[in-house]
């Protein structure tokens, strides 16, 4: 499609970078393919939902996750095996009847990608990053989440060193379900704080 601006498109610029880096032996296209395949197949919200389901059913694991998130993930065989930053801290913040947690990265898009995969578009948007620290209840309302006045909202601003995941409250009527069935009740947005776990 002809445009007035003839500068190369982002797709062209990206392809050019990749081809040059491959040709120079800096990084091969195959390495990039493998990385993308790994992210798409293994790093996704289902992993986070499983962490939640097991925290709901195993008190000792829940306690470990809340006091030392990295150790909790290691105990589940889900450590920061991505190898990018072994010193990165994973912190789990628990919703209760009185406290609702929501996560953001106001400076860029820090997110527990090694566990959950890439963050959703809305999390990376300037509007979310600017407004959720300023008026969290209004932002949550946009997501269809209305909190009672007596529930405190805690907003956690992620950093290069610390990534957060919300442990949503176990919904009523969820007794006697298997870990797999419980995990099905946890949408990705509940792990970030813009939704609650679903009722069965």
């Amino acid at each position: 499609m002809p445009t007035a601006d003839h500068s190369p498109t982002p797709a062209v610029r990206t392809a050019a970078l990749e081809r040059l880096l491959d040709r120079r032996g800096v990084v091969s296209s195959t390495e990039l393919d493998d990385w993308i395949d790994d992210v798409v197949s293994r790093r996704n919200p289902a992993a986070g939902a499983t962490v939640v389901a097991r925290a709901w059913t195993e008190p000792a694991l829940r306690e470990l996750l809340l006091t030392d998130g990295n150790a909790g993930l290691d105990a589940m065989g889900l450590g920061w095996a991505f190898g990018l930053h072994a010193d990165r801290r994973f912190q789990v913040v628990e919703n209760t009847a009185r406290v609702h947690n929501v996560v953001v990265c106001t400076l860029c898009s820090c997110y527990p990608t090694a566990l959950l995969g890439p963050p959703p578009g809305w999390y990376k948007s300037d509007a979310y990053r600017a407004r959720v620290v300023l008026e969290p209840r209004a932002v949550l309302r946009e997501f269809g989440l209305e909190l009672d006045d007596d529930v405190a909202v805690r907003v956690w601003d992620s950093t290069a060193q610390t990534r957060y995941m919300v442990l949503p409250a176990r919904p009523a009527g969820a007794q006697g379900l298997s870990v797999e069935e419980l995990a099905e009740l946890v949408p990705r947005n509940a792990l970030v704080g813009t939704a609650l776990a679903r009722r069965p």
């Binding site: 990206t14 050019a16 190898g83 407004r131």
Partner: protein, 109 residues
């Protein structure tokens, strides 16, 4: 002194753009390639996470605000790789021309 990327608490932004509850991790091929390039180059030690973040934060306000998330990553990536001497700016421009020319040829059969 803070810069434009530090948007926490700033007023004037409208509603949060909503999306499908379940969306693919990458909606464009080049998004996945850029993201992978950033992560792999940092993991391989070709660039540091800090200098990459710094390059993003140095973007002029107008460029930053009008760029999409992945465009911001791409801009910072080009900046760091050229500044560090990993790639030459002229080689990069020439490669962009080659890629664009090939795309045109492919499109016209």
């Amino acid at each position: 002194m803070t810069r434009i990327h530090d948007v926490g608490g700033r007023r004037g932004f409208g509603p949060v753009p909503q999306a499908e509850e379940v969306e693919p991790p990458f909606t464009e091929t080049w998004h996945a390639r850029v993201f992978a390039l950033v992560r792999v180059l940092i993991a391989r030690g070709v660039m540091s996470h800090n200098e990459f973040r710094f390059a993003r934060e140095q973007m002029p306000p107008n460029t930053y605000l009008s760029a999409s998330y992945y465009e911001r990553l791409l801009h910072a990536l080009e900046t760091v790789l050229v500044a560090d001497g990993v790639l030459d700016a002229e080689d990069l421009a020439r490669e962009q021309g080659a890629v664009a020319g090939k795309a045109q040829t492919d499109a016209h059969g």
